[in-house]
Amino acid sequence: MEREEILKKMEDIFKNVFDVDSLVLDDDITADDIDEWDSLSHIQLMLAIEKAFDIKFTSREMKELADVGEMVSCIKSKLK
């Protein structure tokens, strides 16, 4: 799956987790850009991403993936 495809799928996940219809994701988006994105919703977000892509993050990845770009790269590496 290409980055653009992953990003598009993640956009839907973000919209669902954060209840925001008008969200456009790019690689630079971080928790600072989304009001509801705190440590608790971060876990929910990561679990939703795991389910959508049928992957598993390590606890380190759960903790350290801080922006959308890093998440996309990580997801891409797990889908190979």
Binding site: D35, D38, L40, I43, T58, S59
Partner: protein, 129 residues
């Protein structure tokens, strides 16, 4: 590491407090915890584990979302001798830290912090001192 309380999430702490009192619990005062954007209240029954009710502030959107699904237990709190050491140990076990230890007014300003574990869900650590 000793179980101190079970945390229950609720949208309306007064209502849930009343319901637990009907089950024979003694209810404490409702305490504000601005650092974690919530109000809490402790419920006790002799010889049993304490129940903590947690009502998130309106602006605490992620916890409000959890609360909107209904009153439910959502974390276990363990009292520990050394919260910094215990935090490191939990992370070695794969737990994800959700917050740095902060003083909690409801616990006489003893420090607390939260973790998430894939197998156990949300865990809170409470410093004994």
């Amino acid at each position: 590491m000793v179980l101190n309380h079970i945390g229950y999430i609720t949208e309306t702490i007064e209502d849930t407090r009343s319901d637990f009192v009907s089950l024979g619990y003694c209810a404490g005062n409702i305490v504000d915890f601005p650092a974690h954007k919530c109000r809490v209240c402790f419920l006790k029954r002799d010889g049993e584990v304490i129940v903590e009710l947690v009502e998130p502030y309106e602006e605490n959107k992620s916890l409000r979302k959890l609360a909107s699904r209904g009153v439910a237990p959502y974390h276990l709190c363990y009292e520990v001798d050394n919260i910094d050491e215990s935090s490191i140990n939990l992370q070695k076990l794969g737990y994800v830290p959700l917050s740095e230890p902060v003083a909690a007014p409801a616990f006489d300003n003893r420090r607390i912090c939260y973790f998430w574990g894939r197998g156990t869900g949300y865990i809170e650590l409470l410093s004994k001192y």
